[in-house]
Amino acid sequence: MEKILTKKALPQWLIKLNAYQIYAPVKKENHWSYEALDKPESIRLDHLNTIQSPKMIIFPQREVFFEFHNAEGNTLVMKEPASESSATVIFGVRPCDAAGVTHQDKVFDGHFKDLYYWKRRNQTILVGLACNTPPSPHCFCLSVGGSPHSTAGFDILMTELEDSYYVESFSKKGDTLISLAGDIFSTPKENDKKDKEKAHSDSEKKLKRHIKDLETVPPKLKDMFDSPLWEEESLSCIQCGICTYLCPTCHCFDINDEKDSSSPLSGKRVRTWDNCQFPDFTMHSSGHNPRPDRASRLRQRIMHKFNYFVTNYKAYQCTGCGRCIDKCPVGIDIIEVLEKVRDYGK
């Protein structure tokens, strides 16, 4: 389904979606972040990339698996918390972040399905915004199989035109969102379509960063396990974990118990994001650590994204959003690391 929505009418559309929980980018002091949108008229889609991707909504940083307590007669009771999630629409999602969701889908849909993830994922509708100008100077989606107007993962993709949005729906869920406010949409004219296509092709030219010949990196990495490169590139890392926490594709987590009371026993088992850049991520209780230093942990981050994930899922586990480059406090730049891998020994 393809429609035109005037910019002025955007809040009216949102009003019609009042049965949904709506998230949209909200401007904070010095960044943008996804927030639950209370007032439809406050919606703005002129955002730079949000500090966190919508990963934080579908796969929250902390979530309760179950509550437990000791009951009468020395029995244990474990109960899933009542579901609080409802049908959710996330507005203004960038194509790289939607691609990130599709990568997470692969992981949480393996041999064992993660029901907590899928409960929210199945209720989430992704409404995207094509990037007519790259929202970050470090965007490199084109190099990793994406594009500023990629439709992967979207129910709807909007492209900003002069006074309107070109709205394309790719799913039943997307069609439903449009039909809920049917009368405010109009049918695109031939020149709308042309404008949209021009916006798309122009946007590709505006990307500043690229990795040439990235396809040579995965096979090359196979023989670089013991390379001194990892040591050299990781020397400045302070192991803050920002790169992986902010990554729209990183999915590693920890599971821990939070005790509310010891006697009688009660508490919760919770999942929280975890991070391969931390030493205790792989540390055995004996103290042995198969990844004992920064070099082995940077290697894991790069190998996972550009070798193991490619082996397992035929895709790079990176969508080119540029967050890890933007936010690394010591300036470790994944593009530069990949270029060094590519050129290593040449």
């Binding site: 000791n70 029995t75 244990l76 474990m78 920890d254 118990d257 088992r269 792989t282 193991y308 397992n312």
Partner: protein, 274 residues
């Protein structure tokens, strides 16, 4: 309804045996599911044991699937969860989820001579397959166990070892001389060379500390064992147990679901430090 893999099933501890005392204590627990929602396992699989309020630990199921009435786990006391397990008493409730991992390919081993080589707590993961082989002895050739630990006090399943001596070859060892120790003195890999098992129609299964495994494999190769005749288990820190939390990988493999049992032919293709 689809299965929620993260919620354990409730099980009761029905028996506890002290195997090893002291700083590196080992206890063997037998458990029974409280409800009728339990599971059956294959030899070499593990389960996530929960002490609620403390957390979870991956522990090998050391009982044979033939013993359907209970599950058995031998646990080395080392950290938060395993110490809490050691505090528990018969009748206490724990959580169990699983079974996880690939298990030993015992169907491929019919008619073969099986040589089990273990060190310390490493006997636990191979105990289920050893028991299964003993239970169906006519399906296999000769059965041999080469097992050792630092001192005779650190050997697990002491009683059971005495029992199975009637049925199969058992060669024990301790690292240093001890009073009244009549068997081999020295490291397990050396005892292996000393006993010199033939690779002819044989499979070797080894589990123990990484350094022991390394030398056992080397010595097996020296004895003429081919890479696909050698099986071992890999231990990595685990949380989810189902290939999602991203923690336990060696290369593209998640040990929790693709392992933990590998033939040396498979394992040597993977990175040696992870």
């Amino acid at each position: 309804m689809e299965n929620n893999h993260y919620i354990p099933k409730v099980a009761r501890i029905i028996n506890i045996k002290n195997e090893v005392e002291g700083a590196r204590a080992i206890k063997t627990f037998r458990t029974q599911f409280a409800g009728d929602d339990g599971f059956t396992h294959a030899c070499g699989q593990s389960a996530m044991l929960s002490v609620l309020g403390k957390g979870e630990s991956m522990i090998s199921i050391s009982s044979s699937p033939i013993e359907a009435e209970y599950l058995q786990f031998s646990v080395l006391k080392t950290g938060r969860v395993t110490s809490a397990l050691h505090e528990m008493k018969v009748g206490d409730m724990i959580g169990i989820r699983g079974p996880y991992g690939n298990g030993f390919p015992i169907d491929k081993w019919t008619g073969k001579n099986l040589i089990f080589i273990g060190g310390g707590i490493g006997l636990a993961p191979i105990w289920s397959v050893l028991q299964t082989a003993l239970g169906k002895k006519s399906d296999y050739g000769n059965l041999t166990l080469i097992y050792g630990s630092r001192t005779s006090k650190d050997l697990v399943f002491k009683e059971e070892l005495r029992g199975i001596k009637q049925e199969m070859a058992v060669h024990l060892s301790v690292d240093n001389e001890e009073d009244r120790w009549e068997e081999y003195v020295g490291f397990v890999p050396n005892n292996l060379l000393d006993k010199n098992p033939s690779p002819e129609n044989a499979v070797a299964i080894t589990c123990g500390p990484p350094i022991m495994i390394k030398f056992v494999i080397k010595n097996l190769q020296d004895l003429g064992f081919k890479d696909d005749q050698i099986y071992t288990t890999v231990e990595n820190k685990m949380k989810c147990g189902i290939g999602i939390c991203g923690r336990c990988n060696i290369g593209p493999h998640y040990v929790c679901k693709d392992g933990p049992i590998y033939s040396w032919a498979e394992l040597k293709k993977l990175p040696q430090e992870y």
